[in-house]
Symmetry: C2
Amino acid sequence: MLSERRLEVLRAIVQDYVGTEEPVGSKALTERHNLKVSPATVRNDMAALEDDGFIAQPHTSAGRIPTDKGYRLFVDKLAGVKPLSSPERRAIQNFLEGAVDLDDVVGRTVRLLAQLTRQVAVVQYPSLTRSTVRHVELLGLAPARLMLVLITDTGRVEQRLIDCPAPIGEAVLADLRARLNSRVVGERFTEVPSLVQDLPEAFDADDRGTIQTVLATLLETLVEETEERLMIGGTANLTRFGHDFPLTIRPVLEALEEQVVLLKLLGEAKDPGMTVRIGHENQHEGLSSTSVVSVGYGSGDEAVAKLGVVGPTRMDYPGTMGAVRAVARYVGQILAES
Amino acid sequence: MLSERRLEVLRAIVQDYVGTEEPVGSKALTERHNLKVSPATVRNDMAALEDDGFIAQPHTSAGRIPTDKGYRLFVDKLAGVKPLSSPERRAIQNFLEGAVDLDDVVGRTVRLLAQLTRQVAVVQYPSLTRSTVRHVELLGLAPARLMLVLITDTGRVEQRLIDCPAPIGEAVLADLRARLNSRVVGERFTEVPSLVQDLPEAFDADDRGTIQTVLATLLETLVEETEERLMIGGTANLTRFGHDFPLTIRPVLEALEEQVVLLKLLGEAKDPGMTVRIGHENQHEGLSSTSVVSVGYGSGDEAVAKLGVVGPTRMDYPGTMGAVRAVARYVGQILAES
DNA sequence: CTCTGGCACTCTTCGTGCCGGAGTGCCAAG
DNA sequence: CTTGGCACTCCGGCACGAAGAGTGCCAGAG
């Protein structure tokens, strides 16, 4: 359908527009790219591309700019992923290696991504759905008050205060702690509910109420912590958005504060590899002039969470994709090591 | 020096400018506020105020706008703190009471403040400097690998992995745990170092290395956690900043991402009550057109952390101060209860 | 000494009209 | 299918003028 040259023209338009931020015309195209044809020919191609909805003109007698559909074609067919330079790669590695704990890893990652892409970076904390339990600790703070501490294999610690319906003895507590750990340590979160289901039966009726409470809290914690947290950074880069500021930037900032929106954004991407969602492709109203590039990352072979960047649809897709992918890989490495 | 009426004029200027965002002239002033004098008189006063540096005009033959110095006088002498309406107060209480843990309290607080003031809210996590130790737990994960868990009276939990120089027995570990807790539970962080100093002497030489390591990690955790974390929200409100967008908003966003800057901002305020820092009064370059209203909050009688808002120097000081103070009080209550 | 009204002056803002340039669409010829 | 030519459109910038808002100053009244 689309001849080779027309695709080439589209590519040129995208590249120029990304660079200059201004509608690009036929003449400029033939000059800056060495298409071997005249402006008139390019004009014909442009007219065809416009008919097909890949490009549009803001007003008559202005140059063309790519539409969402145009960008889509560009990333699908025309753009590769630009690998980072080796100094860049070394910088990434050095920067991430200094991290001391999980928070720090995520924090550094977000700053790194923001800096590399000069856009807004979003990093999801490693998910617990695929994580396993490393240890469960029960501390008696008061006769009828416990603290539950859950430690995961990703190095995360979650704690909960529990008010017991009845006081519980230290010995019973120790017993519960031991039984609980012997059952769930090393298991995935999703397995835990069925593994602890019959646990109360091993105890005196007096204590069952308390034990039920403890188990309920544990399961609740698991579920709640499966709803992932995330960190964002580089919002200052939004100022490079465009000239028509307040209108564009405001809804984006609002969307970025809604963690739910972002989680959905990252979560929806089913593709295990990189996902690019362009303009209206992401449902959220306020993000209709932004694109989201996201990718899963993980400590082993499995992806445990996503990270990505949010930027204007007019972004350098190859470069951004390269940076996102590279960062994801290195973070994966770092996580695997620790 | 400044007659009563001149102060009144300044107050009127500040109020009008905050409302309209436009330079305010003598005629408008006499109309909107019932000063009992003519525009000409007001003009004389304005000239005097300008000589003293309280107001300025953007260009000849424009109205006046308050300077930082003018705002300073306004908040010091002319403005009260506007109490919230009781529906507002009830809303605050209801909203905060739903919180389930510390993260949630801080998260809700930041959203609440941002919404009430329509500005950027900053909430510092409760500081540990004044906090006391509720419990220290040591878990043997592997023969030469421990996990240290520190629980504070503010409900915060911090954990650390420890690689021991030598394996340590379960009995020794239990002994250490018991001794450690008997010494430090209920004590302030600042007291801990001297309290545990001689602890290794009670153990076999074989274990001292490990114990030293544990203690070192504990102290390190205490110090590190004294560097406070914080949460910000409501950045979308920055879009209401002014018309001259990108220039103003960019450095502010950048500053907000530098936690160091914010911590300094909150930390510098020595006043136990409310602190208002106007424009250039806060050192940071990028924040020279913003004001920061901050106040300490705490679970008991002592302030354990700060919270506040960042907004344009042209802000509704009485209202903002009222909201900040009210929120701080309710958060304090919530923390005291839990 | 203070307040007031009047008056001339200064700037900004906004609407208008005009021009140049960039870019398009179409057509006829190669 | 490509190309050069040509007429047309529309945006952006600029100059000009009028309107409006606000000031500073002065002279007179209380």
